[in-house]
Symmetry: C2
Subunit: 139 residues, 2 copies
DNA sequence: ATTGACCCTGGAGTATACTCCTGGGTTCAA
DNA sequence: TTGAACCCAGGAGTATACTCCAGGGTCAAT
């Protein structure tokens, strides 16, 4: 059983973040000392690592709470987890598409700008952004 | 000169958003009626369209305020705008790379999961996320 | 006994881009 | 003249994931 500071050091998150995770129902200490200090066990550390890695995979804390819940359920099967992973991957790919569209729109704007010295009044980038009905490249 | 509601209708943003933009220094009405109603001109509509399109290109409101500022400066040249567009494109591409890494990590997790019916205790996805030191695919 | 490092609760603050609400004044048509 | 539709200011609320603070208690070593 370790105190909050030790767990924080072990997992590279702050004490505040651990308390925040507890408030959010993600990780609870295994017990409390007589003085009211939080005491964590090994599973707590596993849960923190789980949270951090899931975040790196793009899951929000709410989704991670759900995953942790599945992880703790006896009747749950691998497919329950897999479904969530696939769903998240689709979300991420959709965001990537949106960002690629932005990147492409910017490319167009940048390449259309022939003369950097031109006064801003004649700037093609500004003009393109002002146009009432966005051209095809901006949706 | 049109009232806020008309401009809102013209540009497909809400009255509240227009007032918010004003508070943020993005668009100010050209004047006010005796009763204190905001009165907008044609340039206001152009500015709103500008804001919306720049948002679609991934610029934040703070960056857009800066772009609008450049747009209004006589001494500014096209290069000032172009530089910002290039910078934004780099930011977006960096985000795309991060999201592709997430997508790839999820792919690995999903493909490693051989048996969907397996109980969650043996779930390879859960296990991978718990591992203390993330594997190569998760950085 | 005291010092410093640690822990506690509860609440506020951060960033972004709005949205909604309260309580009131204005404009216009019937 | 009255009612609907519009406008105003000021402030609070939304989501996300923390971070920081005040004011206090606890623990180990000296």
């Amino acid at each position: 059983m370790i105190t909050i500071g030790k767990l924080a050091g072990l997992t590279s998150v702050s004490n505040d973040t651990l308390r925040y995770y507890e408030a959010e129902g993600l990780v609870s200490p295994a017990g409390k000392s007589p003085a009211g200090y939080r005491l964590y066990d090994r599973d707590s550390a596993r849960r923190i690592h789980f949270i951090k890695h899931a975040q790196q995979c793009g899951f929000t804390l709410a989704e991670i709470r759900d995953l942790l819940d599945v992880r703790g359920r006896d009747k749950a099967c691998c497919g329950d987890v897999r479904t969530r992973a696939i769903e998240k991957k689709l979300q991420i790919e959709s965001k990537i598409r949106a960002m690629k569209a932005m990147s492409k729109a910017l490319d167009q704007l940048i390449s259309e700008c022939a003369n950097e010295k031109r006064p801003v009044k004649e700037c093609t980038i500004i003009a393109a952004l002002e146009r009432a009905n966005g051209s095809k490249r901006m949706q």
